[in-house]
């Protein structure tokens, strides 16, 4: 199939060899599971269980609230030992609402496994509803609720489903292994999603550094002519949704738009597998495949891990750490975020846990910019990172926005090639966060003004009502007085007439 070139990009060392050969292993049941209520983009889920409750495997723990949200389920059977705050799988190290579950070891589904259904007999909307109920979110790391993306056809005219199997981040091999080992299930999930979206064309994009995965997917997709498997040149960030679509179709997604604007929806292979599980077997999303790797890990592996398992359990199953890591990262080394510790749980979007050594992390002092423009050549979005960073450094965030800050995908290509080790991505992430905070402050101020005005109107209305009531009362009093006077007058007159008559 014809591919289209994208601008920029970098070639970091793959480092995938450590785990590419390692078949997915099931991690033994941990002693405790910490299941955060917010593992997705959108509103957090609301808990429906209490401390002390006994729950079965797959039972709903917290339901979704709002349009963009996702529920969470019990990854195994056991007892709820806490509903409270626990350190989040997040670089800030802050706590989030978390349900803590103590497994009972029985891994009990209750009345057997949920019933099986044929998804192709269901209405497309019903498939999206079931995907939402299973708590499936984008498992490539973005964690956007998948059901929302499956419902896009009501608002956009769609023609293509692109499946993201690029896995362009170094070290990570979880999608690679999933495609190799569960090819048939992944293809089935992909077909279910295409049916829900009502699209006729399916393209699976896999980088050429994963020939076994390409072969496995081609073999599994042989009977379905609408599915095409495309080999992509291995170049970071090929797995970025917009760049993947541009490579495969030659059409660029509009700035700050969705790929749906050009008729394409992108889902990850792990999401497809979760959809297969949910629609064929009625199982909610309870586990995911995580690559545990990095120079400081003794035995790097790919593990199937229950959601909520502490990261330390994964590391100790992989033989522990051979040295104290310079960096502990969730996700890949390019876009991954540092973890505040190993106590934090695995969440739906965590595709990798990397413990990098000093040599791998390359924590070097940052130096002044020499204006070599390497970052301009590397930027896949066609931006000028050095100028944006200069604006942000001097505090002019609006200037950086004028240079396209909002089109930056924080892929890290610029910081990767920078010979001066300037923390370019941190500048951009800081600026995006600061702009969002300002927006929030402004919104809050407008709300305050609205509330204050509403209060003034309310007070005036109350005052008005009081005045009216007073006026009515006065009028009533006056009338009563008048009536009384009249009655007295009449009585007097009557007495007068009686007297004159007598």
């Amino acid at each position: 199939m014809k591919l289209f070139r994208i601008k920029g990009g970098v070639h970091p060392d793959g480092n995938k060899g450590r785990t590419a050969h390692a078949a997915i292993e099931d991690l033994p049941l941990p002693a405790l599971l910490h299941i955060p209520l917010q593992q997705h983009i959108g509103s957090p889920a609301a808990p429906v269980v209490r401390r002390g409750d006994q729950v079965l495997k797959g039972q709903l723990l917290a339901h979704s609230q709002g349009m963009i949200s996702a529920p969470v389920h019990a990854p195994t059977s056991g007892r709820i030992v806490g509903v409270g705050n626990y350190p989040a799988h997040h670089p800030s190290g802050l706590s989030v609402h978390t349900i803590t579950l103590q497994p009972d070891g029985a891994d009990n589904w209750g009345e057997g496994e949920p019933p099986r259904t044929d998804p192709f007999t269901l209405a497309p909307e019903e498939i999206a509803t079931r995907v939402a109920a299973a708590g499936i979110v984008g498992m490539g790391g973005a964690t956007f609720p998948s059901a929302v993306k499956l419902n896009l056809r009501t608002r956009y005219s769609l023609d293509t489903l692109v499946i993201n199997g690029a896995e362009c981040e170094p070290y990570l091999t979880c999608d690679d292994r999933l495609m190799r080992e569960q090819g048939v299930a992944v293809i089935d999930g992909i077909r279910i999603m295409a049916y829900a979206l009502g699209v006729g064309r399916i393209v699976i994009g896999i980088e050429n550094n994963k020939p076994e995965a390409q072969a496995a997917m081609r073999a599994a997709a042989k009977e379905f002519p609408e599915i095409e498997v495309a080999g992509l040149p291995a170049r970071y960030p090929m797995g970025s949704e917009k760049h993947l679509v541009q490579t495969l179709t030659g059409v660029e997604t509009p700035a700050r738009g969705l790929t749906a604007d050009i008729g394409v929806v992108v889902h990850n292979v792990a999401t497809a597998y979760a959809v297969h599980d949910a629609l064929r077997y009625g199982r909610p999303l309870l586990s995911r495949v995580v690559t545990v790797s990095g120079g400081a890990v003794r035995l790097p592996k790919n593990l199937r891990v229950l959601i909520g398992t502490p990261v330390e359990d994964l590391i100790s199953y992989c033989g522990g750490l051979s040295e104290s890591p310079a960096r502990l990262i969730s996700g890949g080394p390019m876009m991954g975020q540092p973890l505040p510790g190993t106590r934090v749980p695995v969440i739906k979007g965590s595709n990798g846990v990397l413990a990098l050594t000093e040599r791998e992390a390359a924590n070097e002092e940052s130096m002044p910019c020499i204006r070599c423009a390497s970052c301009v050549k590397a930027c896949p979005c066609g931006l000028v990172p050095l100028e944006m960073a200069n604006y942000i450094r001097s505090g002019d965030l609006e200037g950086a926005v004028g240079y396209g800050l909002m089109d930056c995908i924080s892929c890290g290509s610029c910081a990767f090639v920078c010979p001066s080790n300037i923390r370019l991505v941190q500048f951009f992430n800081y600026a995006k966060g600061e702009l969002t905070a300002r927006q929030r402050a402004e919104h809050q101020q407008n709300e305050t003004r609205r509330l204050a005005e509403a209060r003034t109107i309310r007070l005036e209305r109350q005052e008005q009502a009081k005045r009216e009531a007073m006026a009515r009362r006065k009028k009533a009093q006056a009338e009563a007085k008048k009536a009384k006077e009249q009655a007295e007058k009449a009585r007097d007159a009557a007495q007068q007439s009686v007297r004159t008559g007598s």
Binding site: E447, R449, L451, A452
Partner: protein, 177 residues
């Protein structure tokens, strides 16, 4: 002599009429800048700036009697936009000394006197006579008006803490070049 007198008088009259018309046509109702600044302020009349309300505060800012950083609820964002409006430069590094807070009512001590309920400028307190009152955290601006009037001192001002949703990366530290 007469001609000179008449021409000066005519000149005086004509200019006088012109001034009179100009005074009517180009009449200014107060300082327009004050109105514009007042529209930018939160409008909750909380009085934290030391002025009795947002309108007097706006007039003080417009006349240069108060700094653009006067409004604690508006914070850094408002200070920046006021500075842009007035064309002055402002050092924002020292602005946000006061961390944002919100009021919290300790339910065990609330006697339901409705004093705080009546004073809240944004209707962020819900309650009724002899009922325990509660604060809607999202609507509270931390103006401390309720804090001052509570007879049982059951209101405490708590700092608004960053959550995983509002947290973001700090600006990178660099060696000065």
């Amino acid at each position: 002599m007469f001609a000179a007198l008449m021409s000066l008088m005519a000149l005086g009259l004509a200019l006088g009429v012109l001034l009179g018309v100009a005074a009517r046509v180009f009449k200014v109702e107060g300082n327009p800048l004050e109105a514009e600044i007042e529209a930018m302020l939160p409008g909750s009349q909380c009085g934290q700036c030391g002025f009795p309300g947002c309108a007097p505060a706006a007039s003080a800012v417009a006349n240069g009697k108060a700094p653009v950083t006067l409004c604690p609820p508006g914070g850094r964002t408002l200070a920046q936009s006021l500075a842009n409006k007035l064309g002055v430069t402002v050092d924002l590094s020292g602005v946000e000394d006061q961390a944002p807070t919100y009021a919290h009512i300790r339910e065990g001590l609330c006697i339901g006197c409705t004093k705080c309920f009546k004073r809240c400028p944004t209707d962020a307190i819900m309650g009724a006579h002899e009922q325990i009152h509660v604060v809607f955290r999202d609507a509270c601006t931390g103006c401390e008006k309720c804090f001052e009037v509570c007879p049982t001192e059951c209101i405490e001002m708590r700092p608004v803490e960053a959550t995983a949703q509002t947290w973001y990366w700090s600006k990178p530290m660099e060696a000065s070049s």
